[in-house]
Each structure stands twice: as structure tokens, then as C-alpha cells.
């Protein structure tokens, strides 16, 4: 009996130690991430002075993500059109399909789905690139040349992500509305004028569009910073970079969904 108790105690102690260690690791990583974020802001001046570096990254993160954003947006818009019409026609208000599609996209789906796709497409590319630069000593080489890697590598990518995200989200909403229109008007036969006029009358610039833009900027900061930190903090091995890339997608996706709830709560309250 005493032996069972002792084994149980050892097991419990081991479990608690494990939980404690993991908690400390998470807090440490959070601190290190926050430190990198503040250093990025501090050293951003240089990347604004040489804006061509940021422009180049906007091309890689933004322009190269266009295809996946546009195609996804079109399908999401078409599904919204179909599902929306299916529900609205039961209440005899199928003309409201335009406003339903637009509000769903501008307020929620545009910023959220864009951020999730961005994390999968551009976020992973950023993490892998920075992780490999670390593994192949390119960041160390920069340090040894008296060039600050945060100013030269991290800051331009950060601002590129922050700038690209709202533009991508706006494009997502625009193409999504087009997808909804294609299903609702030519395919189902909803009145063309009703589709656009209802949308024009019920979508508010301040409450809907500006809030959507604010969300996408916040998601841009979160997704890009997570991707950069994971790459910067990755162990310099193939396995380390692979794990970091996976973590980027998982953490970014959870962060986007969590932040969306927090932001929506504030926006509805205010």
C-alpha cells in the first residue's frame, strides 16, 4: 500500500512538474514574442527609410497570396448566396440576399477567412524563410557584419503583412459579393436592383466597413508577428523549422478566432 502511495505521489509530482515546466515555457515565449514585437517597432524607422524592402515583401506576402484569396472568396460568396437565399425565401425576403452576403463578408468572413488563408499561405512562408535563414547562419552573418537583422529582415516583413492584410481582406469581400451576386441574380433570379439597393441602404461605412478594416489590421499584426517570431525562435534544424511552421498555422488560427470574438464584443458594445 505504501509502495502504491509512493508511486502515485511520484507520478503526481512528475505530472505537476511537467505542467509547471510547460507553463513557464509558454510564458517565456510570450515574453520573448513581446520583446521581438517592441524591437520591431523600435527598428521600423530604417525599414520606412528604405521602403523598397517593404514593397518587395508586400509582393511576396500580398500579391503572391492573391490567387488563393480571390478563388476562396468567390466560392465563399457563392455558398453565402445559396445558403442565404435558401433561408430568406422561407420568410419572403429573398431580396435581402445582397445585404446578407455583404454584411457577412465585410464584418466577419472577409477579415477572418483572409487572415486564416494568410496564415496558411504567407505566414508559413515567412516562418520557413526566417527559420532557414537562422539555420544557415544568414542572420548570424548579418549580425557579424554589424547589420541589425531585426531592422533589415523582420521589420520590412512585419509592415508588409500589416499593409497587405486589409487590402487582401477588402479584395476578399469584394470578390465574395461578386460570387454571391452570380448565384443570386443570374442563377436564381433575384432582382438585380433589389440586390444592390438593399446592400447600399444597409451597409454602414462606420459600423461595418471601418470595423472590418480594424479587424483585418489587428489580424495582420497578429498573424505576421506570430509567423516572424516562430521563424526567429525556431531551433536551427530541419525538424525545428518544420515544427515552427506548424505552430505558426495553429497559433495564428487560434489567435485570429479568439481576437475576432474580443473585437466583435467591443464593436457591438461600443
Amino acid at each position: 500500500m505504501q509502495m502504491i502511495n509512493s508511486t502515485l505521489f511520484t507520478g503526481m509530482a512528475k505530472l505537476l512538474r511537467g505542467i509547471g515546466r510547460r507553463m513557464i515555457e509558454r510564458i517565456w515565449r510570450l515574453g520573448a514574442g513581446a520583446r521581438l514585437f517592441f524591437l520591431t517597432i523600435i527598428y521600423s524607422g530604417e525599414s520606412f527609410k528604405r521602403f523598397h524592402l517593404t514593397l518587395r515583401e508586400i509582393y511576396f506576402t500580398g500579391v503572391m497570396s492573391l490567387l488563393i484569396i480571390v478563388v476562396s472568396a468567390f466560392f465563399v460568396g457563392m455558398v453565402l448566396g445559396l445558403q442565404g437565399y435558401n433561408t430568406l425565401q422561407k420568410y419572403g425576403s429573398s431580396e435581402a440576399i445582397g445585404v446578407l452576403v455583404a454584411l457577412s463578408l465585410v464584418r466577419e468572413l472577409g477579415p477572418v477567412v483572409t487572415a486564416l488563408l494568410f496564415a496558411g499561405r504567407a505566414g508559413t512562408a515567412i516562418t520557413a524563410e526566417i527559420g532557414l535563414m537562422k539555420a544557415t547562419e544568414q542572420l548570424s552573418a548579418m549580425e557579424m557584419m554589424a547589420v541589425n537583422p531585426i531592422a533589415r529582415v523582420i521589420a520590412p516583413r512585419f509592415w508588409a503583412g500589416v499593409i497587405a492584410m486589409p487590402i487582401l481582406a477588402a479584395l476578399f469581400s469584394m470578390v465574395g459579393v461578386l460570387g454571391g451576386y452570380m448565384v443570386a441574380v443570374p442563377l436564381i433570379g433575384v432582382d438585380d436592383g433589389a440586390f444592390w439597393s438593399q446592400m447600399q441602404a444597409n451597409v454602414d461605412v462606420r459600423d461595418d466597413i471601418v470595423n472590418g478594416v480594424i479587424k483585418s489590421v489587428v489580424f495582420g499584426v497578429a498573424c505576421t508577428m506570430i509567423a516572424l517570431f516562430e521563424g526567429f525562435d525556431a531551433p536551427p534544424t530541419a525538424e525545428g523549422v518544420s515544427h515552427a511552421t506548424t505552430r505558426t498555422v495553429v497559433i495564428s488560427s487560434l489567435a485570429v478566432l479568439g481576437l475576432d470574438f474580443v473585437l466583435t464584443s467591443f464593436m457591438i458594445t461600443v
Partner: protein
């Protein structure tokens, strides 16, 4: 001006409670090619990182041009590093830049030179390493030896006072090895710089080094000119220089009895 450009005094370094270096003393006279040799994992590259200020010693100090490296603030450290060039083991070329842009990188980042002058300087540096014709290539199109030569051109781009080489001969074919060997010596003499080579390739290093330090078990195990060390009767130096399989550095990693291990396996 001190005779030695780099001085390491009573330096100890370690992490997680384990000391990798214990009271190391070394000097690197101006204009000389000095090698640090030792087995894999003996902390040779760590010494280069300590000289470059990328890590801090636990005890003692590294002085570069009379300045204590780890006491420098960020600006002081960067100022010091501008007088150094480093060749990394695998070149560490920036894969998103061409060969030309890699060599031009330190010039564009750290100087206000006009682009026309940068172009001429880059072509001169690449010509010195025999790769002027490859300036448009991407680093992924280069062989290991060529990448090392481009990295060398980048390391000397701003005519540094100190050039550090981390395993410059590792993984190279004999021709590339000879070329790199020759370049290290000729660039050192042409620039009037001081070269610090970290390597375990005895033949090539002894050919160009003026002085050699042997590092083993965290200490300087032996030092002297290549000629002295070739004649050395110290067991470690003898084993290392002549590439003997067994000696003070055992062939087998410490383990339990071979017989006991085999019987344990059988009973599983």
C-alpha cells in the same frame, strides 16, 4: 597601438552549468595568420563567436584593438564588428540575393558609397577570388567551393582588420581547398589584416598558419608554429597531427562493458 590585435585573457565560457572553456589565454598578433585547432565539439567556433561578441564569457575577457568586447554597448559592438570580416562554415550567403548583391550587401548597408563605386569594388573583390564572371548567378547555382569564395569576397568587402574563418576547408574538393588556402594567405597579406582560422584540417592549416593553438578539454593543450607542432611529442598533438585512430582521444565513446551490453540485449 598594441602588437596584438586580439587578446584573450583567462577566458571561461559555458552554458547550463557546464564549462566549455577554462582559463583560455591566446594572442593574435597583427598581420599574422593564426589557427585554432582541435577536435569536433572542442569549442573552436565558440571562440570565434566570443571574439565577435555574439556571446559573453562567464569569466575573463576578449579584447579587440584594446577594447573589451563584452563591455561594448550595441553601437560600440557594431563599430567593432565593422573592423571584422567572418567567413562562416557554409558561407551563409543570402539566398534571396545574387552573388553580386551578396558582396555589395555590407557596402550598401554600412557605407554611403555611390552605386557606381560599389559596382567597381564588388567586381574587384569578385575578381580577387576568381568569380567576377559569376556575379549574376544565384547562390543556389554555386558549388560549395564557389560559395565559400563568394563568402570570402563578402567577408573582405570593407577591407577588415581581422578576418575570421570558421572551418574554411570543410567539405571541399582538393582543388577548391587549394584555392581557398591560397586566398586566405594572399588576402591576409594584401590587406595587411590578421586572420584567425578555426579548422581541423591539419595539412592545409599548417601550410598557411604562422602560429597554431590546439584546444582540447576546454584548455589550450599546445601552441607553437606549425613546424614545432609537427615535431611535438605531446600525445594529443601527435595523435591529432598524424590522424591516429586511438590515443588520448579514444576511438570508443564511453560505455559500459561490451560483453555486459550484449548479454543484456540477448535477455530482452
Amino acid at each position: 597601438m598594441s602588437e596584438n590585435i586580439v587578446e584573450i585573457d583567462n577566458l571561461s565560457f559555458g552554458f547550463k552549468g557546464r564549462l566549455l572553456h577554462k582559463n583560455i589565454n591566446m594572442v593574435f598578433p597583427r598581420g599574422k595568420v593564426v589557427a585554432i585547432m582541435g577536435g569536433s565539439g572542442s569549442g573552436k567556433t565558440t571562440l570565434l563567436r566570443l571574439i565577435g561578441g555574439q556571446i559573453k564569457p562567464v569569466k575573463g575577457q576578449v579584447r579587440v584593438d584594446g577594447k573589451v568586447v563584452h563591455e561594448q554597448d550595441r553601437d560600440g559592438m557594431y563599430k567593432l564588428r565593422r573592423t571584422m570580416g567572418m567567413l562562416f562554415q557554409h558561407g551563409a550567403l543570402f539566398t534571396d540575393l545574387s552573388v553580386f548583391d551578396n558582396v555589395a550587401f555590407p557596402m550598401r548597408e554600412l557605407t554611403d558609397l555611390p552605386e557606381s563605386m560599389i559596382r567597381d569594388l564588388v567586381l574587384m573583390k569578385l575578381n580577387a577570388v576568381g568569380l567576377r564572371g559569376a556575379h549574376q548567378l544565384s547562390p543556389t547555382e554555386l558549388s560549395g567551393g564557389m560559395a565559400r569564395r563568394v563568402a570570402l569576397a563578402r567577408a573582405v568587402a570593407l577591407d577588415p582588420n581581422i578576418i575570421m574563418y570558421d572551418e574554411p576547408f570543410a567539405g571541399l574538393d582538393p582543388i577548391s581547398m587549394g584555392v581557398i588556402c591560397d586566398l586566405i594567405r594572399s588576402l591576409n597579406d594584401a590587406l595587411g589584416a590578421t586572420s584567425i582560422i578555426v579548422s581541423h584540417d591539419v595539412k592545409e592549416t599548417f601550410l598557411i598558419a604562422d602560429y597554431v593553438y590546439f584546444v582540447a578539454n576546454g584548455e589550450v593543450a599546445a601552441e607553437g608554429t606549425p613546424h614545432d607542432l609537427m615535431q611535438s611529442t605531446l600525445p594529443f598533438v601527435h595523435q591529432f597531427v598524424h590522424g591516429e585512430k586511438d590515443g588520448p582521444v579514444p576511438f570508443h565513446y564511453p560505455a559500459t562493458s561490451y560483453q555486459a551490453e550484449l548479454f543484456k540485449q540477448a535477455s530482452l
